[in-house]
């Protein structure tokens, strides 16, 4: 229990736990689960936006979007690497994703129907991700905290780009404006649901808070997100699809309508509009790439043994 005391002291002192340090099993497991889910979300998250690369309306937008999707692959890589410091392999995690044993953010189970959705994902989905993730830059596990610093920097860049897409659309032709509003109408509540179930129902939160992995409750972060979006929507000239949304002077926050948590649970359970497609897409890419990975492994082995023979 010396180590436990040491660990508790590190947490208490807001210091970082590092890979070689002792840590409680639950802490390790919880972190693996969370980082893996985060990594999976980056990888699956490439799909809804990737859906519009080929059709981006200008070459500049195409380049920005392609770079963004590339960043997501990069984020996936950092995060799997961070998880690997906890004693799992990327292959294990990828298998867990492919086989449906681990989850990814349910937001990516909604379809991107128009170009405006690329803007809405940047503004709202990346915006929500940032609100979720900024506190993680101070989380107690060092490698995760450091990965998050880098990721958050890029995410906020992405968020600005998404906002800019919507800004251009909402100041464009009537069709473009309608496209932007329609997109906000569809993405608003799913974005609110990204913060997870309300605090009264959240399962993993208390422990995570104790360990300083999580630092704010779901509802706190959701409120922060709403307060951030309202003035931005005003600048965009778009209407958040919530008739009950209003400033509450007493609370110093906006009151708003909660998302449909039953829908969230259905999507998490696998019944969202695109769950089957997203998983099938990922599985197919994995399966169809198998021969390439095998060839690379075989080649590396041959090269190694050639080198060895040459070294003799």
């Amino acid at each position: 229990d010396d180590v436990q005391a040491w660990f508790d002291a590190v947490i208490e002192a807001d210091q970082k736990v590092e890979p070689r340090d002792w840590m409680p099993d639950d802490y390790r497991k919880g972190l693996v689960r969370q980082i893996a889910q985060h990594a999976h979300s980056e990888i699956i998250g490439m799909q809804p936006e990737g859906n519009w690369i080929s059709r981006a309306p200008t070459l500049k937008r195409k380049a920005i979007l392609l770079a963004k999707v590339q960043d997501e692959a990069g984020h996936g890589l950092y995060l799997y690497a961070a998880a690997e410091t906890l004693g799992v392999t990327r292959e294990e995690l990828v298998d867990a994703l492919i086989e449906g044993r681990q989850k990814y953010s349910s937001i990516f189970n909604y379809p991107t129907l128009t170009w405006a959705d690329v803007g809405a994902i940047g503004w709202l989905v990346d915006g929500a991700a940032i609100v979720n993730q900024v506190p993680l830059c101070r989380c107690s596990y060092g490698p995760y905290a450091r990965a998050m610093i880098r990721i958050c920097k890029e995410e906020s860049f992405h968020q600005r780009q998404g906002y800019e897409i919507l800004h251009t659309l909402s100041h464009g032709t009537p069709e473009q404006r309608a496209m932007a509003q329609d997109s906000l109408d569809r993405w608003w509540y799913p974005s609110l649901a990204m913060f997870g179930p309300p605090d009264t129902q959240s399962t993993h939160s208390a422990k995570s808070m104790g360990w300083k992995i999580k630092r704010h409750s779901n509802d706190e972060l959701r409120q922060r997100f709403v307060d951030m979006c309202v003035p931005q929507a005003k600048v965009l000239g778009l209407t958040i699809p919530d008739p009950d949304l209003r400033w509450n002077d007493e609370r110093g926050h906006h009151d708003f309508t909660e998302p449909d948590y039953a829908e969230l649970m259905r999507v998490v359970a696998g019944d969202g509009p695109c769950n089957a497609e997203r998983m099938a897409h990922r599985r197919r890419a994995h399966d169809e790439g198998a021969w390439v990975r095998e060839a690379a492994a075989e080649y590396a082995e041959k090269a190694a043994s050639r080198k060895k023979a040459g070294d003799r």
Partner: protein, 219 residues
């Protein structure tokens, strides 16, 4: 011509986004696609408005080599990594040579080429490495890569100004990968004169759909 080649190469490579055989390769292919797209924008902007040129011309007005418009596999919708690597190997070798010549000539075109030539060298290295891995990997990868090289060879005749120099670069890569250099077939030509394959009009239909649906809109 250079701009069209790079633009279509980018469009095809970008089809890999979220589908590559490894995550590292997802990053690498997107990177190469971004380089090609960047080059396309520079070259097209020399000739006029980049978006006007990319989005408002129909297939008969494009002047790309046929190789870049071909799908990422033998049939439309295919995503065959070996095929994609063979295309990239052939293209990047030619681009590097062309850009080197232009860079030496100077002028506005030369300035762009001086930048893109470094990228092409990286693309060529990446494609060469994978050609070796696949050619000298498993029997299956060798078989697939052989098929790709054989089928695509006829599309390599309008890539380089100096085919001998191009062959001098390609042949050692194939040899090192244990891949047979195909016999010279009847060349497939026409792209430089606006006579394309059946694939290009599909590619453009998808690429241009949104831009064309909103004439005059800003994005």
């Amino acid at each position: 011509m250079l701009g069209d080649d790079a633009l279509l190469a980018a469009q095809r490579l970008a089809e890999w986004a979220s589908r590559a055989p490894t995550m590292e390769e997802d990053v690498a292919l997107a990177n190469i696609a971004l380089d090609q797209l960047g080059a396309a924008r520079l070259f097209l902007s020399l000739a006029g408005d980049e978006d006007e040129l990319a989005y408002r011309r129909d297939d008969r007005e494009f002047r790309n080599c046929l190789l870049v418009e071909l799908p990422n596999g033998p049939a439309r919708g295919d995503l065959d990594f070996g095929w994609t690597i063979a295309k990239l190997l052939f293209l990047s070798a030619a681009q590097r040579q062309t850009y080197e010549v232009l860079a030496a000539e100077g002028g506005p075109l030369g300035e762009i080429a001086a930048k893109t030539v470094k990228e092409s060298a990286y693309h060529f290295d990446h494609a060469s490495l994978w050609t070796r891995r696949l050619g000298d990997g498993t029997p299956e990868s060798h078989h697939r890569m052989t098929g790709a090289v054989q089928r695509l060879w006829a599309y390599t005749f309008d890539l380089a100004q100096d085919r001998a120099a191009w062959l001098a670069v390609i042949e050692p890569v194939l040899a090192e990968a244990g891949l047979e250099r195909p016999a010279e077939p009847e060349p497939k030509l026409g792209g430089r004169a606006g006579q394309h394959t059946e694939h290009l009009s599909y590619l453009l239909a998808e690429m241009q759909v949104l831009h064309r649906a909103h004439p005059g809109a800003k994005w």
